[in-house]
């Protein structure tokens, strides 16, 4: 009875939230504001993709820019050289990222803890160097602009920013749905077991190498979709933006600040960090470099030192306190 009641209430909140998100661009017309919403949704999505592997299985990658960049480059090369729609290129980019995750995973999963993290940084940087060095592959260091076709929904180009907003909202919904399904499946339990203690998980029969490989495939596929979307949104691609270390950092950061290994953690983390950064920028102006990441790193340190469970942990504690107070009154 009680669980049923909770479920309906959750669904109700979800429906209200979705309705608000869909109505948002209809009410708020400022393109500055919509740009910020798009950033929030995009990084929530990237964080959600990272969280599947980094959060549930605690494989703390700082190299997800590799897949973001591969997705971006695959769809752009297909579009410019072969005239193929980025909608198809997006999926193709996802598959290229999955393919790349196999050898990269094979290398990196030999290591654990901090050395796994360093290896993932190195692989993403190595990919960036490849795209910088080999001009024949893809325009080298100066990159290229995406030809502007005006309003061409079939080529993922739109007149209004609102359309981009709905695309990335759809991506985030997909990411959250996949996370929700994995969380409730046998795979989710295996991932958490690996994240808690890999040796113990293997001892009770979890095939850790296979599970880690599979979640890496899913996580890299989703990250690549974000890469295609971002390139289409800013109409430009070069190795420094597509494989930017900041993408890898922010993917991990939003998840840790929001709550590692939770469904809503990356979303909440992104809302906090992006809002802070927007406020800072409107207050200080964007003239001083390094302000945003200085503040992000302070928030990250505060979370690690005082609340390693992130904002979701704080929310959970508050809820528990409220629930334990209620029966006492009755």
């Amino acid at each position: 009875m009680i669980t049923h009641g909770l479920r309906t209430r959750t669904l109700l909140w979800l429906a209200i939230g979705l309705a608000v998100l869909i109505a948002l661009p209809l009410v708020i017309k400022s393109s500055f504001a919509i740009d910020i919403f798009i950033r929030i949704l995009l990084f929530s999505f990237i964080g959600t993709a990272w969280n599947l592997m980094g959060g549930y299985a605690k494989q703390l990658s700082l190299g997800h820019a590799a897949y973001f960049g591969l997705g971006a480059y695959t769809s752009t090369i297909l579009q410019i050289d072969f005239g193929i729609s980025p909608w198809i290129g997006m999926i193709a980019g996802g598959f290229v990222a999955m393919l790349a995750s196999l050898p990269i995973g094979w290398l990196c999963f030999r290591l654990r803890g901090p050395y796994f993290t360093i290896a993932t940084i190195a692989t993403a940087q190595a990919l960036m160097l490849i795209f910088l060095k080999f001009r024949d592959l893809a325009w080298g260091a100066e990159g290229t602009t995406i030809p502007n076709l005006g309003n061409a929904p079939l080529m993922m180009q739109f007149d209004s920013k609102a359309a981009y907003y709905y695309v990335v909202l759809g991506l985030l919904a997909l990411g959250l749905l996949i996370t929700y399904l994995i969380e409730r499946s046998w795979m989710g339990y295996y991932l958490v077991a690996i994240g808690e203690d890999e040796d113990a998980a293997e001892a009770i029969g979890v095939n850790a190498p296979r599970i880690k490989r599979d979640i890496y495939l899913i996580s890299s596929f989703l990250t690549a979709l974000a890469g295609t979307f971002y390139t289409q949104y800013i109409y430009f691609i070069d190795p420094a933006t597509a494989f930017s270390f900041n993408i890898s950092i922010e993917a991990a950061l939003v998840s840790i600040v929001g709550g590692i290994g939770t469904l809503w953690g990356p979303v909440i983390g992104t809302v906090l960090l992006e809002t802070t950064s927007t406020l800072l920028q409107s207050w200080l102006g964007s003239s001083i470099g390094g302000v945003q990441l200085t503040v992000y790193s302070l928030i990250l340190m505060a979370v690690i030192l005082w609340r390693p469970t992130g904002l979701m942990g704080i929310i959970g504690e508050a809820r528990q306190r409220r629930n334990s107070v209620k029966p006492a009154r009755a």
């Binding site: 290896a119 692989t123 990250l300 030192l305």
Partner: protein, 288 residues
């Protein structure tokens, strides 16, 4: 022909000495405290800025400012261990990795805010001097840096093997629990390990200043090199890190000579990935 090879090897060895100071710090912290310090490169950067400002404001020679940068960073290391790292030591990887990573981000971006991204250089009387041995060319500033780096490494080795505190550190590295049973205070040992490691990074910064530019991202070059050297030379092994750093310097220099001027990083990543693929426990390592 052999002269260009020999010249490349010498260039590599000289810069390898600086890499060694950074890697020895990383491997010392890993060996004793069992964490990877992602911020090690930023302490090299801080050492460089200390030397830059002392030279710029008071005309102090960068080699002399070693006597300032090392103690300052030693104290910084003790404070960082005592107030930050001590709180995250435990079985959980996430806080350990992301605490030092956050520290690295913080220092780097603070430097960007305070000092801007401009390159800062110090010109000393010996910056352009060089020794000519046969057909070989040895820049004096780099030679001094190499000699001081080797002397500091040797001093660390003597400290670890002859003093009580040094022996306590090696004991804590070998088996923390048994060391604690023998009455070794782990936090004190960890504080000293962090202090020494950061002092070495500061020394590397001061030694670099006569021939290298300081800028906020400069530490990233050295820390990547150090991570590779530390994996290659077996985690937690000081001598291994030293030898691997010299090898890395030579490999990088040969890469620049024979592959291309901007191929240094590619050589580093290739070496890291090859090490991971074929010998993830390092050259002298045992299987985990």
């Amino acid at each position: 022909m052999w002269e260009t090879v020999a010249q490349a090897v010498i260039n590599g060895l000289l810069i390898g000495g600086i890499y060694a100071l950074v890697s020895i710090g990383v491997t010392l912290i890993f060996g004793v405290v069992k964490i990877v310090n992602f911020a090690q490169g930023e302490f090299v950067m801080i050492g460089m800025y200390i030397s830059f400002f002392l030279a710029n404001q008071f005309g102090i020679d960068p080699l002399l400012s070693l006597l300032v940068s090392m103690p300052v960073l030693f104290v910084a290391g003790v404070l960082i261990q005592h107030f930050l790292i001590r709180r995250v030591l435990g079985p959980n990887d996430m806080p350990q990795i992301f605490l030092t990573f956050a520290l690295s981000l913080l220092l780097l971006n603070l430097a960007l805010m305070l000092f801007t991204a401009n390159y800062r250089t110090v010109h000393t009387s010996y910056s352009d001097e060089a020794l000519h041995l046969g057909g070989l060319y040895i820049p004096v500033a780099k030679l001094i840096a190499f000699v001081v780096a080797m002397a500091l490494s040797a001093a660390l080795w003597v400290f670890l093997h002859t003093t009580d505190l040094g022996k306590a550190m090696r004991a804590a590295a070998q088996n923390r629990d048994v060391a604690m049973l023998m009455g070794i205070n782990p936090n004190r040992v960890f504080c000293v390990a962090l202090g020494i490691a950061l002092a070495l990074a500061g020394a590397a910064g001061s030694l670099l200043m006569p021939f290298y530019s300081a800028y906020p991202f400069v530490g990233q070059v050295f820390v990547l090199m150090a991570f590779v050297a530390v994996v290659l030379g077996t985690l937690g092994n000081v001598i291994g890190a030293l030898i691997a750093s010299l090898m890395m310097g030579v490999a990088e220099s040969l890469g620049i000579q024979y592959v291309g001027a901007d191929s240094g990083l590619i050589v580093v990543f290739a070496m890291l990935l090859l090490t991971l693929a074929f010998k993830p426990t390092g050259l002298g390592g045992k299987a985990r």
